[in-house]
């Protein structure tokens, strides 16, 4: 299955891009996608347990992913 991983702000800076298309085996979780992300250049700079969202809702690392899902890795927010 294929998922889109979105990166923002400081995380987009360290990975040098704002989105990554990722092929994952069926049954993969958000944590699996995160591990894959860490293996990319700059990915080692991500914190151990960043906030995650799946399809616009905050989600836990163990959340299963479906093909076509949008997984966002969310840096500490700073609105206002």
């Amino acid at each position: 299955m294929t998922v889109t991983v979105l990166l923002f702000a400081s995380y987009a800076d360290v990975l040098g891009c704002e989105s990554v298309e990722m092929s994952l085996p069926a049954g993969a979780t958000a944590a699996d996608a995160l591990s894959r992300l860490r293996a990319l250049p700059g990915g080692g700079a991500l914190p151990p347990a960043p906030l995650l969202a799946v399809n616009l809702e905050y989600a836990r690392a163990e959340s299963p992913l479906q093909s076509g899902d949008e997984l966002a890795v969310i840096p500490p927010v700073a609105g206002g």
Binding site: A9, S10, I74, V77, G79
Partner: protein, 145 residues
Amino acid sequence: MRAAIVERVIDVAALLGEVAAASHGATVLFVGTVRDVNDDRAVAGIDYTAYVPMAEREMQRILREAAERFGTDAAVIEHRVGHLALGDASVAIAVAHARRAQAYAASRYILEALKQRVPIWKRESYVDGTREWVTQQGAVVAQQD
């Protein structure tokens, strides 16, 4: 109730008009603006970015939560993204209710919830030419059990 991320100047008078009704005895307008000093550093401006669809959804949810807690069904919030100069409004919240206590409480609730969980980020540019992504106090930064 309306929540939006905008790329233009926030028209606070329009927000006040949006929540106006004869049944309201109190309207609270909060406007957050770009300040010239943060953590003892001279700020030149701020670039805001957002995960727009999620930010709008989360802000809408916060307005619903405020309505449930305080009965404030007349509320609107706009947050601006892009480059903002000193004094520019980054966020504005207008809340109206029959009574002031509920309007004040709802305004505070909406802003604090926004700062804690709406996916918006800011990169401050300083007078010395450097710039930095800002992490603010109280924001949730990692997965929690």
